[in-house]
Amino acid sequence: MVVGDISTGTDVLVIGAGPGGYVAAIRAGQLDLDVTLVEREAFGGVCLNHGCIPSKALITATGVAHEAANAEEMGIHADPAIDMGGMVEWKEGIVDRLTGGVEKLCKANGVNLVEGTAEFAGSHKARVAHDGQGQGSESIEFEHAIVATGSRPIEIPGFEFDGEHVLSSRHALSPDSAPDSLVIVGAGYIGMELAGVYAKAGTDVTIVEMLDEALAGYTDDLAAPVVDNIEELGVELHLGEAAQGWEETNDGIEVATENADGEESTFDAEKVLVAVGREPVTDTLNLESVGLEPDEDGFLATDDRARTDVSHVYAVGDVAGEPLLAHKGMKEGRVAAEVIAGEPSALDYQAVPAAVFTEPEIGTVGMTEAEAEEAGFSPVTGQMPFQASGRALTTGHTDGFVRIVADEESGFVLGGQIVGPDASELVAEVGLAIELGATLEDVAATIHTHPTLSEAVQEAAENALGHAIHTLNR
């Protein structure tokens, strides 16, 4: 122990106060465990501060402006002006409320909050360094530790984030103003979401993507409406082009790319945003001293109890591996706390939903038809286009469809893919059906409110059963 060290003890040390960490801490507190939650930056983690919540705030705000400006068909004539500063301030207000809420909830559940950067210093010991001169450090002896240090944007060579010319997603969510032009490297979900935000805020956006498709990982039929829409917004989409580097020019910057044939291109812009993915934060933890080694991608392997190879150390959220989704981390956090408390808890979920907040939104859960087939089922699908939805017509958004995948033999719902208005919400119904072991009949026989978008899920189930009313049956 170094001189001046304070040493404390705790049942459960949680490192990182993002969705995985704070949920674990609160749940452990509820289960009467002594919990210490260490956060080096801001309660709520990336999700609340620099990810999900800020991006959705900006997506909604710019969406409102865009909707208003394009609602002549509805008889609305408006020319909204976006005050990016005001918008960011509004977003910060939301973030503050949420992070403050998390802090309050932690305290109300008896969680000891510690600000600082934690690293392991032995099998049952961690050291927390406090920021700032003379702030010192403290040692915490723990029975169990939950690693929930999350992830950070990946930097690619030649594009080190500087916040001025080269932005990370985090920078892009707290802009002082919307740049006149922006090159986005990466057409994954973050790149596509932010492209929509900036395009609607008036920025000329160009996306360059190394792969030959946007939204890789989603099937073509789901990605197509999103790609169409983003191009309608005026976004230039350059697929199959790898970003090579950038240079400052008189007017801003120039981003160089190269395609598979070695042909080079350049794109002028005010700034470049790099959104090529995220990597886990495990290099700051001195994992060796607790006997852990991350895999080559930096993730910590865990079992179905969220336990790592060291039985008293748990990993939850992004550090525990794909998919990097806050709701997956929350579930893991809850399970880790319950397992530590001796509850019969396990990560036995049947499907993890995912959503892309583009326009239109994409929501997926469970298996696709191909995956179901590969898994040995005899899949049957049912589909409902939003063009046939009364409610979709009244929102002015009729792109997309709901597709439900089920096992023909048993009728069990196995998955759902939705692209269209509020797909991120609608997918929850399919997720619930999967978890409950509901059948197509169950979904079809459940009365859905009319007129709503959720009727499309019911209709898709009816369609799979061959007795849809509002669409032609398969």
């Binding site: 006997g291 079992d303 039985s311 036995d348 979920y349 898994a375 040995g376 048993s410 072991g437 009949e441």
Partner: protein
């Protein structure tokens, strides 16, 4: 056609049996009811008869293998029947079809749990592991609250047959599965001392059938690299298992990942079905003795262990010690011994003790009772069936002498000798060891004075006899030598208090010290 024969329920409430010896070989002609195998259950060795006239096609279990009731152990070629199922193999072959199953107890057919064939059909829905459907096997069609309940009750939800639409698993299904398992286990534990309740067989069968899948010899995996948590590695080491050989469907980062459960399953399965290689090694090893040796804990030893543990953890034991001065008993027995011998009976002290015990029990009836925990009633027995613990090579057995109060000393002597002999030869039947009301254990035959006998649950008392020997007695300031018999009486303190135990022992001592009093009984 090929007729499959499953290990039948060879005794009341028996869940599994060890194939001690095959009496036939493939190719042998057999006739109906001809014994084909000797099977040891938890108490007895029984012969399993052939159900058909025909020839032996294949023996499906090794000698020494423990086989759950309901597993196919042998197949026969039977002439003159349709060869329809000749080619069948795999899970379906184990399915009890209406024609095939007629020789089996119907309770096996009627069981509610998953059979192998069911599991095959439901493999996608029920999530059993199967190579053909690796991803589907991960799906369990049960809601989260049911999955949690299954974890709480220690039920593998993937092995539960759902009763809902499409086989969806409900809370009730999981509870039934858990009940089935528990009932099965409990019945097995108590089978040695209690008549099974009605319907027991059915429940047992369900417990057994859910284990069917485990009975096959495990196929060892052969990987170069296996990921596992340190605790799992330690477990594997303890069990002497190569992690690379443990089958698993789980992966981490593309590498096979083995859990402690997988190691345990593999170990258990391997023990139940020793591989040829392992046996060969065991037979040919001639080197120095291992530092440690592992022997399977099963059969009679395991039954005794379970019975003891259940008794010890169910009944709060208190042991009361005292000593009887038995000079007159020694004389009496000495006098009667010669007469008994003339009549061809070896007379020990045991029949006298039994008579004295029954006399004392009549005065203290709570020691001849049991506790019906379910109905919360003390069942006081007005009959006196006394169990006599007998040490055998296989372990402790407790034959029961019926109606001790109605029998004379010589008859008791004769019965005890006969039952003890049968126990040692292991030809004793289960019935002859069931339904005792009080037990006597004579550890003094080997030596020693006092001990803490474990009650033969659900009885409430057991009397331990130390060695009858000459010991010093202090009387009126003088020490003299006299024959004494040390007594150790363990009681279930829920039913019997210390004072009652002492009173019972005083009465017992009175009879032992004055055997003439037994004439009045």
């Amino acid at each position: 056609m090929v007729r499959e024969f499953k290990l039948p329920d060879v005794g009341e409430g028996v869940a599994e049996g060890e194939i001690v010896r095959w009496l036939v070989e493939p190719g042998d002609e057999v006739s109906e009811d001809q014994p084909v195998a000797e099977v040891e259950t938890d108490k007895a060795v029984v012969e399993v008869p052939s159900p058909v006239d025909g020839s032996v096609k294949e023996l499906l279990a090794e000698e020494g293998e423990v086989v759950p009731v309901g597993d196919v152990i042998i197949t026969f070629n039977v002439e003159g029947e349709e060869p329809a199922e000749e080619e069948e193999s795999g899970p379906e072959a184990a399915e009890p079809s209406s024609g095939e199953g007629k020789r089996e107890p119907t309770k096996v057919e009627g069981r509610p749990a998953v059979t192998k064939a069911d599991a095959g059909e439901d493999r996608r829905a029920a999530g059993t592991e199967d190579e053909e459907a690796p991803t589907a096997s991960k799906r369990v069609f049960a809601p989260p609250n049911v999955r949690r309940l299954a974890r709480e009750l220690g039920v593998d939800v993937a092995s539960v047959e759902g009763s809902g639409p499409g086989g969806r698993i409900s809370e009730g299904d999981v509870r039934s599965a858990a009940e089935g398992d528990r009932d099965g286990a409990e019945s097995e534990e108590s089978a040695g001392s209690e008549e099974g309740p009605s319907g027991l067989d059915e429940e047992l069968s369900s417990a057994v059938s859910s284990q069917e899948g485990d009975s096959q010899p495990p196929e060892a995996a052969d990987r170069e690299r296996t990921l596992a948590a340190p605790a799992t590695r330690r477990l594997a080491e303890e069990q002497g298992v190569d992690l690379n050989a443990v089958p698993t469907d789980e992966t981490r980062d593309g590498e096979a990942f083995v859990t402690p459960e997988a190691v345990r399953e593999y170990t258990e399965a391997r023990r139940a079905a020793p591989t040829d290689a392992a046996e060969a090694t065991a037979e040919t090893e001639t080197g120095p003795r291992e530092r440690e040796e592992r022997e399977p804990y099963r059969g009679i030893r395991r039954t005794i262990g379970r019975q003891m543990a259940q008794s010890k953890y169910t009944a709060p034991h208190v042991t009361h010690h005292d000593t009887a001065e038995v000079e007159r008993l020694v004389e009496t027995r000495g006098e009667l011994k010669a007469i008994a011998e003339e009549r061809g009976v070896r007379l020990t002290y045991m029949p006298f003790v039994m008579k004295a015990v029954v006399a004392a029990l009549k005065q203290h009836p709570y020691l001849n009772s049991s506790l019906d925990e379910e109905s919360e009633e003390v069942v006081v027995k007005n009959y006196y069936d006394v169990g006599i613990a007998v040490a055998t090579d296989a372990g402790l057995m407790v034959p029961v002498v019926r109606d001790v109060d109605e029998k004379g000393v010589l008859q008791l002597a004769s019965e005890v000798n006969e039952l003890a002999q049968k126990a040692r030869e292991r030809s004793i039947s289960r019935e002859e060891m069931q339904g005792g009301t009080f037990t006597i254990t004579n550890f003094g035959a080997i030596g020693g004075e006092f001990a803490t006998p474990i009650i033969n649950h659900p009885e409430v008392a057991i009397l331990g006899l130390g060695e009858l020997d000459e010991r010093p007695i202090a009387e009126d300031g003088e020490v003299r030598a006299a024959h004494t018999l040390p007594l150790s009486l363990s009681i279930d303190h829920r039913i019997v208090d210390g004072a009652v135990a002492a009173e019972f022992t005083n009465t017992l001592i009175e009879y032992l010290e004055n055997p003439n009093l037994l004439l009045l009984e």
